[in-house]
């Protein structure tokens, strides 16, 4: 536990209303590991993410990043929300540098830092384009670039491909698998998509219904680098059905 990049300890959170949301959620993410969180809808994944991102305080429990207490602090984790939220009044390049500018970096320095990432993110030539000129997949890659360039310890991705059509989504998943291997990011992904979780993750954390806690952790021991063909393999199907069983086991 202690050497985890991200450690979540006994998180409790309740809002005014009938049921508490988080009921002692705990898990950890090792450096360079890709962990997904799945759970029945309405189980409190978003609350969990807001707490890990430092946007909300838990009622009890801690969030540790690199052994440091990051509970309620926003500067350890880079957060990518569901919608791309690229702002129409900024160019694509200036959208990606927003986090750096907010952190006090000069616009020029921020641009110099973001520009080299445009090639691996497949966005070369679109630096001065406006967001509406990009395709759905490109917009998500730009949003991810904006997340990554902040240079934070952990990436927190909240259903980043949820709004894409299935073909684009598959493309994005294989692309993400590639770039992540290359950059060695530590990623925590929230998703509804069991296949996505199985394809991308080293480990999947399965949450129970609200008030939620971790039901199971499923290690995904599929070889890397992973390609689309993997999806049709027997082993992949086994992982998928294991995840499905873990989700179903959670009574609702």
């Amino acid at each position: 536990m202690a050497d985890g990049k991200l450690v979540v300890e006994g998180l409790h959170k309740a809002f005014p209303g009938p049921l508490p949301v988080l009921d002692g959620v705990e898990f950890d993410v090792a450096p360079g590991e890709f962990v997904s969180v799945i759970g029945p809808s309405g189980c409190g994944k978003s609350t969990l993410f807001n707490v890990i991102a430092g946007l909300e305080h838990p009622d009890a429990g801690r969030v540790l990043v690199d052994g440091e207490d990051a509970t309620g602090h926003v500067d350890h984790v880079a957060y990518m929300p569901q919608r791309d939220l690229l702002f129409p009044w900024r160019t694509v390049l200036d959208n990606t540098t927003l986090g750096l500018e907010v952190a006090g970096m000069s616009r020029r320095a921020a641009r110099e830092r973001a520009r080299p990432l445009f090639a691996p993110f497949g966005l070369v030539g679109f630096e001065s384009a406006r967001p509406h000129e990009l395709s759905g997949g490109m917009r998500q890659r730009a949003a991810l670039l904006r997340t990554v360039v902040q240079g934070r310890a952990v990436l927190l991705l909240d259903e980043p491909f949820g709004a894409l059509d299935s073909l684009t989504r598959t493309d994005m998943q294989t692309w993400l698998e590639e770039v992540r291997a290359r950059f060695g990011w530590t990623v925590l992904l929230i998703t509804h998509d069991i296949r996505e979780a199985a394809f991308l993750s080293d480990r999947v954390v399965v949450l129970g219904p609200r008030p939620t806690r971790v039901r199971r952790e499923v290690a995904v021991d599929l070889p890397r680098p992973r390609q689309v063909e993997l999806i049709t393999s027997t082993r992949f199907a086994e992982v998928e059905s294991e995840l499905l069983a873990a989700l179903r086991a959670a009574p609702s």
Binding site: N50, A53, G54, L55, V74, D75, V77, A78, Y79, P81, Q82, R83, L85, F87, P88, W89, L98, G99, E101, V102, A103, R130, P131, H132, Q150
Partner: protein
């Protein structure tokens, strides 16, 4: 649709049709109001001539134009002060609107404190207040600025306040996760995001501004289209009153169109997507 009439060259046909659509779109917007106005004026002219109405009661449109032209120096001399008053009044209104909207955006307490007062300010019967303002502050600039600000600051303030408040909650979360202060959230997201609404509010405000100026002058002024109308009415120069009304309408329309030009300069990203 038109291909049944002229089938020959498909390529040429397509280009002309495409050119035609954008043209006809512009025409489609410009022509109908002009047709309506022309029909109305023609009817008016016909009625005045046919029924032999006295010009003191209802002058014909042609007479309005003739007399307006004949008195152009005097009308222009009164247009300039009206424009000045409008500009100063609207500038004050803008400054006030921005100041209130920003303050309200940063302070929920101020929002609760000011909202009822803002609404109450709009229930004041200006028609009764304006003469009092003249009594209190005289024929100078100040009472007119007050009247213009009173009628125009409300739509501007409300437009801005709602524009700031309409900021996407996820966008706010994103900015917060980046470590943005409240001021940075305002600067990077809330302010630019509110601009489209601001320009809509600006258009509403500016159409009221000229009328507000005329009204304030009507009650009492040394110069201006409002007092010009008032004086001409008293000497039964209905034609000159209407000529001044025409100038007022033209001014309002010109200022209204100007907001689109400013909008294009300030937020070129809007209306493109």
């Amino acid at each position: 649709m038109t291909t049944s009439h002229r089938p020959p060259e498909p390529v040429l046909e397509r280009t002309t049709r495409r050119g035609g659509t954008s043209d006809s779109r512009v025409w489609g917007r410009v022509v109908p109001p002009f047709v309506l106005v022309a029909v109305g004026l023609a009817g008016w002219q016909w009625y005045v001539t046919a029924a032999d109405v006295r010009p003191q009661v209802l002058p014909s449109p042609l007479r309005v134009l003739q007399q307006g032209w004949a008195f152009r120096d005097q009308i222009w001399a009164n247009t300039v002060p009206t424009l000045q008053v409008t500009a100063v009044g609207f500038a004050v209104s803008l400054a006030l609107g921005w100041a209130i909207a920003i303050a309200v955006d940063f302070s929920p307490w101020l929002r609760r404190a000011l909202t009822p007062l803002l609404v109450a300010s709009q229930t004041l019967p200006i028609i009764a207040i304006a003469p009092l303002l003249i009594i209190w502050f005289g024929f100078g600039l100040f009472p007119k600025v007050v009247v213009i600000a009173l009628v125009t600051f409300f739509p501007i303030t409300v437009g801005l306040v709602e524009g700031f408040a309409a900021t996407d909650r996820q966008a706010t979360s994103l900015l917060r996760s980046m470590g943005a202060s409240r001021w940075q959230q305002f600067r990077y997201v809330r302010l630019p995001g509110a601009m489209p609404r601001f320009f809509t509010a600006l258009r509403i405000g500016i159409t009221y501004a000229v009328t507000g100026a005329i009204f304030a002058e009507y009650v009492g002024a040394t110069a201006g289209l409002g007092i010009f109308m008032s004086l001409q009415k008293n000497s039964f120069r209905t034609d000159l009153v209407l000529a001044a009304v025409l100038v007022t309408a033209l001014l309002s329309v010109a200022l209204f169109l100007l907001t689109y030009a400013v909008e294009r300069l300030v937020i070129p990203w809007w209306r493109r997507g």
